[in-house]
Each structure stands twice: as C-alpha cells, then as structure tokens.
C-alpha cells in the first residue's frame, strides 16, 4: 500500500464570509485563508446621504436592511462558492453607528445559525489595518497610521494581532476635519477629495498652525486647525476680499500632513518598526500618500498602502482581521452585541 495521500492541501485555507455595516456602506466579502479575496461587494449609500449633507444614521440603517440579503447573495455568487462551503461568518462588531452595526450583526448571527458555523465579531480598525495583509506581508513590529472619517490613530503592532494604540485624536478625526473644511470652502459632501485636489493644484499657500501638542505625544488635535481656516475666511471677508480657497486648502492640507506623517515616522523610529502601514479612507489622499512614502524611504522603513477600494470601508478587510481569530479558534457567541464604542487593544488575539 503506497497510496498517495489524496487530500486537498490544507493551505487552501478556510472560507470566511464577512459583513461590514459600520457606517454608510453595506459590504459583504468571501475571503479564503484570510488573504485571497474571492469577492468583496460594496454598496455605497453616498448618493442617498449627499442630499442631506452627511450621513444620517436612521437612513443608513434603513438602507442596510434594504440591501443586506442582496449583497450577501452577490458576494456568494461572485465568489463562486456554495453557501455550505462557508467555514465561519465574520462581522464588524464595532465601533461605528450603532443602528447601522446592528443590521450587520443580526444578519451575521442569522447566517451563523442557519449555516451552523462559528461567528467572529471583529473590530473595524483591526479590519482597516489588516487590509494590508490582503496586499502584502505584514512584518512586525509594525506601525499603522489609521486615517478615516471617524478615526485618526497610530497603532503599534508588536506581533501579529497585538494592537497597542500609541496616539489618537483628541477631537475631530482627519476625515471629519477635511469634511468640515470642505464645507467652509463650499464643496458638496463628501468634500475631502475636493480639498485634496484643490491643495494639489494650488500655487499659493496660506500657512496655518501645526498642532503638535506635548513634545512626546502621539495624539492629534484638528479642531484648532479647522477654526484657523474659518478665521482666515472671515478675515478676508471683513477686508472685503474674496478668500483664496486654493491657498487655504493647501495650507490646511500641509498642516495635517506635516503633523500626521511627522508623528507616524517618529513612532516608527522610537518603536523600531520594520514596516509602516497606511490605512483607512483618508489613505486615498494623494498628498498624504506621497509625503509618507518620501519620509518612509528616507527613514528606511518599508511602506504598505492597500489600493483605494481596500482602504475605504469594505468587508474583505473584516475577513482579513477575523482570520486572526479563526486561526486561533477564538469565536464569538450568538449573543454578540454590536458596540458603538469598542476597544481595539482588548480585541487583540
């Protein structure tokens, strides 16, 4: 009997179906082995919320209910797998809009019950960080700079799945500051990308203050900068002049980028990071990408940035993070509760 073992190679990995509904995107993905994205369907509600000038939580929740099973079906079909092949269901447990999270959490729990597979409650920011593992290998210790509409954090990963927040915003998130400044510059919601573009094209710059906080702090504060922009606009108007929006956009962007990238690089040096990761929706900002890339190169720290569609909210990133727990057999109970506020560090493996 010299029978060749005829088993499927175990490296092909498990199939995770993930659901993300923390804000205004309904997303479902099927990911194999935590790395291979078989499908990643994202249904954006942006056109709905644009007419309100921002995300309306009640409407976001209503939309999630409308699209939930349609997106699940699309993700399964696109992945070309059978529902019975799914090994576990992952879902964003928090943080986020509670009413929006609830829809995804209840759908995920229903699927886990119907398919009789484990459930994995997942931290949204862990998802943004582990989006990087969908495009490259994460080398530890690693510093993640998370910038989005709701978050601005510097996270140290000493080892796989071990999160330590070393800096966070004390007021507005970067994305939030961008949207507020965009509104002052008369751009429609969501205005962040418009500000980025205007700043890139500007020939002049109104120099605005940098908020470094205490010398050893990795925290951020953007509300003062936002106020400075508004004050500049007022000052021009008082003098009967039209404010130079492009010079202001440039000044705002330069201040944000200086502080954010400056602190990230300092953290990389202090903690001996072997890698820098840029993640979250604001990672699409061109000015930010370019500066961070230049600084990382100068410091000899490799930089990982996922493509845009993996930076904005999506379910594939949730599957990538959930895989950390899947491989360790760390599952959630069917009584999993959606959490508007949730600790990333406590979610560590």
């Amino acid at each position: 009997m010299s029978g060749q073992a005829n088993e499927a190679p175990s490296e092909s990995g498990s199939l995770l179906l993930a659901i993300e509904t923390s804000c205004d995107e309904t997303s479902v993905a099927v990911v194999r082995g935590g790395r291979e994205v078989l499908s990643n369907v994202v249904s954006s509600q942006i056109d709905t919320h644009r007419q309100f000038g921002g995300v309306v939580p009640e409407i976001a929740s209503r939309k999630h209910v409308e699209t939930m099973t349609i997106i699940i079906e699309e993700a399964v079909r696109e992945a070309g797998v059978s529902l019975t092949d799914i090994d576990a269901v992952a879902v964003t447990q928090g943080p986020g809009l509670i009413g929006a999270l609830l829809v995804g959490v209840v759908a995920a729990k229903s699927l886990a019950l119907a398919l009789d597979v484990p459930l994995i409650g997942t931290h949204h920011i862990a998802g943004h960080i582990y989006a990087n593992s969908l495009v490259g290998d994460i080398i530890y210790p690693s510093i993640a700079l998370v910038v989005s509409g709701g978050h601005t954090e510097i996270v140290l990963l000493e080892a796989e799945g071990k999160f330590r927040i070393i800096g966070r915003t004390r007021d507005d998130a970067v994305g939030e500051a961008y949207d507020k400044v965009a509104r002052a510059l008369k751009f429609p919601y969501p205005g962040g990308p418009h500000v980025d573009k205007l700043a890139q094209e500007a020939t002049e710059e109104v120099v605005l203050p940098r908020s470094w906080l205490e010398p050893d702090s990795y925290d951020f504060s953007f509300s003062g900068l936002k106020s400075a922009v508004l004050a500049e606009i007022n000052r021009s108007r008082m003098k009967g002049e039209a404010p130079d929006f492009s010079a202001l956009a440039r000044g705002f962007q330069q201040s944000v980028i200086d502080v954010v990238t400056g602190k990230a690089i300092r953290a990389a040096k202090e903690f001996g990071a072997r890698q820098m990761m840029l993640c979250g929706g604001v990672a699409a900002n061109r000015g930010l990408r370019e500066r961070l890339a230049a600084l990382c190169e100068e410091a000899g720290v490799p930089l990982l940035i996922p493509p845009n569609k993996l930076c904005t909210d999506n379910a594939a990133m949730i599957a990538a993070a959930a895989d950390l727990k899947w491989r360790r057999g760390q599952f959630s109970s069917l009584d999993l509760k959606a959490e508007a506020v949730m600790s990333l560090e406590d979610w560590s493996v």
Binding site: Q51, F52, V56, E58, I59, S61, R62, V65, E66, M68, T69, I70, I72, E73, L83, G99, L102, V103, V105, V106, A107, K109, S110, L111, A112, L113, A114, L115, S333, L334, D335, L336, K337, A338
Partner: protein, 265 residues
Amino acid sequence: MKIDEELIEDSGSVTVLAFDTSTAAFSAALVRDGSRIDSVASFAERNHSVRILSEIKELLERNGMKGEQIDAIVVGQGPGSYTGVRIAVTAAKTLAWAWNKPLIGVSTLEALALGAWLKLRTENEDLADDRDIWIVPILDARRGQVYTSRYAADHSGGWRTVDSDAIRLITDWAELIEDEGTEDAQVAAIWFIGDTPLHQAAIEAAEQSGTRLRMLAWDMDATALGLLGELKFRLGERHDVHSFVPNYTQLAEAEAKLLAASRGE
C-alpha cells in the same frame, strides 16, 4: 381569520417559525396547523439584538426542529420601534434566504390585536352576540402619537381589517373611534389594547355612553403572529426576501424635513 380542518386538508400540514421585536417584548413561536407548538417571550429593554438568535436556536432545539423542517418564516413587519423592527426583519430575511424558505410579513399591530382577541373572546362571552367587536391596538410612538389600526372581530371567528396601520394622534383617534362606535349600533364593544396605560387618560376622555369602551394592557405574543402567518402562507401569500422592508409608517425625520423643504414649506 380561520385555519379550519378544511383548509388544513387542502394545503397539508404547515409549520411556521414566527418572531417579532417591534415592541418592548421579544417574542417567538413555533406554530403548526393552527396551534402553538411552543413559544418564548422576554423583555430585555430594547436589547433584542443580543438574544434574538440564541432564543430562536433554543426554541428550535427544544422542539427537535431544524431549519429544513420549517415551511415558512413569519415576521412582525412593524410598525413599532425603528431599531426593534429592523432586528426581526433582518433576522427573518437572512434566515429565509439562507434556508431558502418563504418569508411572510405580518403587521405587528394585527398580531398584537389578534393575540388580545384570542384571550378576550373566551373571557367575555357576555358579548357573544352577532355584533362586531372592535379591537384597536395601540403602540406608543411618543409625543401623543400611537401606531394603530382597527379590526372588527366576532365570536363566530370573523376577523377583518377596518383601518390599516398608521401613526395617529391618540386624542383624535380615540375620539373618532368613539364617534363611529356611537353611530354604529352594530358594535358590541370597543377594546383598546396594547400600550393602554400610557394613553389611558386620552382614551377615557373620548369615551361616549353606549360604546362599552374597554382597555387591556397587552404585550406581543408571537403565537398570534404565527397563526396569521400560517393563514397567509396557506392562502399563497409570499414576500420577496430581498425587497422586504419594515413598515415604519412614516419617513425618517431627515427625509420628512427634506421633503418639506423641497415643497417650500
């Protein structure tokens, strides 16, 4: 409202899983051929999302049932708490899709009303003549408003909708019901049921002589939901799983404001 021998003979044995989270109660039931097999109710303050799937799982396991053995998923479609109704509807849609079972939405208010009537009809045989009894379910919707509708029942099993689900001011609504009840000598009694303690004063203020106005504080019992769902199922009603949404009975506040602004109000 009747699931009789004849109907069962025509459409065979039917088992439904029914649940509702639109009110302060979480309620789930297994109903087969017009009778309750088992049910569960809990009052976790607006936290139905936590226990809903565990309760459903336990209900099924306790009765040795699996998803495949259920003929349809029946869900309370609201109106009620926005967040609450979304929880049951999302669970129902997802389970129905994953198990590939028909989905049947039932008005939360109608289930509330039928549940109360099934209790009242045995306890109030003094009203057992051939006149209608109005059952008016009310669920508090804040600022003096209620989610409500009106059903006409009789002791021989008749059940029909007089007014469908809407959000109304309780003072106006109670007055209208009482006015019509006085005019219409066919009404043997008027029962307001549901969140009555909260609106007792307004209902009492509307009372007119001769209508035999009654009140009953009443919570959702998913058995009644299951009975209504089973009947609909037997009559061939199905909802499309993907497009099924809660019946909120009103626009979200932001939508209402936008609409008003676009009309120049």
